[in-house]
Symmetry: C3
Subunit: 265 residues, 3 copies
């Protein structure tokens, strides 16, 4: 059972242990996701040199792969990192940015999944639909479908891939194929800030290092996103200030904030 208590326990564990989270992510969000991990209490590593992947994967607690600014070199690196993580039992979070917007993105995402099963797949509904083989046509990297349309696709993917799947949106839908979780709240300003989806994937990575199941990790990551976004929105005057107050909130979030604000079902 996932609830504010389990999420608070996981958040406390992240803050106490400061797990190292290895991110191989896109150029647009590297800074943002590193800052979000630091604000949460985790320690980000952003590194992609083939010659050090094996050593680094030996000291980290989670690997986040994000294909946002993929090219042939980075695809190869992500494949190598996924395989090494698999060998070492390091949980992988995959963010298939833009799957469906180009064949390259859809195929790369599926190839990475096939190479090494991720613990958690975090995507928007269009990307989920594209990966599920549905006829989803995505508008760039933003979502053109609502979460409820993608729930069936997410459940099928979770069952087929044996992992937790998050279809994020105004209401986040999470499933491990058996149990479903829905999280709402947040702020309408969040889609007006680049990298907030990528950030949620990174935070899920931090929780994957401490949670007792992939679904619990996914729920904790999405929950602190929603709660911190809502806290930030009470102070912000637009997407610029929202960004910063979001990091402040992520850093300062208390058990009471979780209990009072979290809308989970």
């Amino acid at each position: 059972m996932i609830n504010p208590e389990t999420i608070w326990r996981d958040l406390s564990a992240v803050r106490e242990k400061g797990p190292l989270v290895h991110n191989i992510t896109n150029f647009v969000v590297m800074n943002v996701t590193a800052n979000a991990l630091l604000a949460l209490g985790a320690s980000p590593i952003m590194a992609h040199a083939t010659g050090e992947l094996d050593e680094l994967l030996g000291i980290v607690s989670a690997l986040v792969l994000n294909i946002g600014t993929l090219d042939s070199g980075w695809i190869e690196i992500m494949g190598t990192a996924a395989a090494l993580a698999g060998k070492r039992g390091v949980p992988i979070v995959l963010d298939p940015v833009g799957a469906g917007a180009s064949r390259l993105r859809t195929e790369t995402s599926l190839a990475l999944i096939q190479m090494q099963r991720p613990a958690i797949l975090r995507a928007n509904p269009s990307e989920i639909l594209a990966l599920a083989g549905a006829s989803g046509v995505t508008k760039g990297v933003d979502s053109t479908h609502r979460p409820d349309e993608a729930e069936e696709a997410a459940r099928s993917l979770a069952q087929k891939m044996n992992c937790a799947v998050v279809a994020s949106g105004a209401v986040d839908f999470l499933t491990d194929g058996t149990t479903d979780v829905r999280i709402s709240g947040g702020s309408p300003l969040m889609p007006r800030i680049t990298g907030m989806g990528c950030t949620s994937s990174a935070l899920v990575g931090a929780f994957a290092a401490v949670a007792t199941s992939p679904l619990e990790a996914a729920a904790a990551g999405m929950a602190v996103m929603k709660v911190a976004a809502e806290m930030a929105a009470e102070k912000s005057s637009g997407p610029g200030t929202q960004q910063l107050y979001f990091l402040d909130a992520l850093h300062g979030i208390t058990k009471e904030d979780l209990v009072r604000r979290l809308k989970i079902s």
Copy 2:
């Protein structure tokens, strides 16, 4: 005739349609320009893999090329993207960062222009002078000339290249070779924030997707920069806070803000 009314119409169109703007830009400003496009109401795509350029250029409404952190790989990618955009009739905005500071930058800019005529060239006066074959020596990527010195060069370039040219500065000078536009205002803090020139190029790209002419698109982009910068400066206490209030202002700018604040002639 470009005035607050036409600019408001274009801004409303961007907010309503949310045009996809494809950016192949430098590492320093990817996050900043994506956020500015989102705050404006457009949808950024940041992607550079050769294997997906054709597909992506089939769904976007404008292409912004920025050579800020160019290298041989990225130069080739930008050339490919420019040619594909030309075939599809996607308008190109070129930002020749640092032209004049190195031969590589000057030559790359000219080669990209020759490969495919941009709709709009947005640069600082030194870069304009360098590209116009004047003896401009730039001090890095910052401008060492004042806009008025570069007006003649901008006009000549616009006529020769058959595009709109923006020489940006304390007073922005815009021309399509026949009609000139000058926009002033803004904030002296803006040159103390990295990527604000690159951001204006990205915003011009969003307007190129909806405006009736390249000059109108350029004017709309530079106008909202100046107005949002001025609005931000009333709240900021330095270049850090100015960055964020600028995004807030860009997101919240009203017709009244444009009418009251825009200094255009």
Copy 3:
């Protein structure tokens, strides 16, 4: 003798001259360090194309090398830049991010030092220990040792390499092998913001362009970091707002701020 007076003199010189600082740095911090240099009053160049390094190093006043997101291509570029800087007498600041966390990082740092002596090495204690051949095991790119443990290692490195060495932390330890300087203050929020170490290296680079010795440049850079961080902390509500108020403070810092707040010994 380094004191608030010498630091104010150096800061005034940076603001007056606006020295060009060439950064070959990691993807995570490019934006942040460029903004910090601009806020300080310097002019950043972020460029790495082999074909323009010689020209650019002919117009800049300092070179900052940072191996944060190194790979084989960037290592080669940094080596070329270091050699060209050496030929031209451009002072180098080296930031060996993550030395000790992987062999690649330790070896690359040492190879760069061997290729061309840096004027200043700025690192955290673990990186200093790793480079000094101590048994330092780093936890990612964050420090797991306290500055005082690394003081001996820093002094040995400074003597062997004939450069100034900074082991930064809650108390920064600076040495040229003969004279030691300690700077304290700042804010506990700074380690919760990515790239603040990298930013201090960049600022030291700006000061290397105007100071009378590497140790003086290092002290000025670390001093304005601590003072601006402390000023920011008085206004911030977490790591997000701290980032922005830090840039505001860096931009606005006065002689009185330095005299009143600087803790140097």
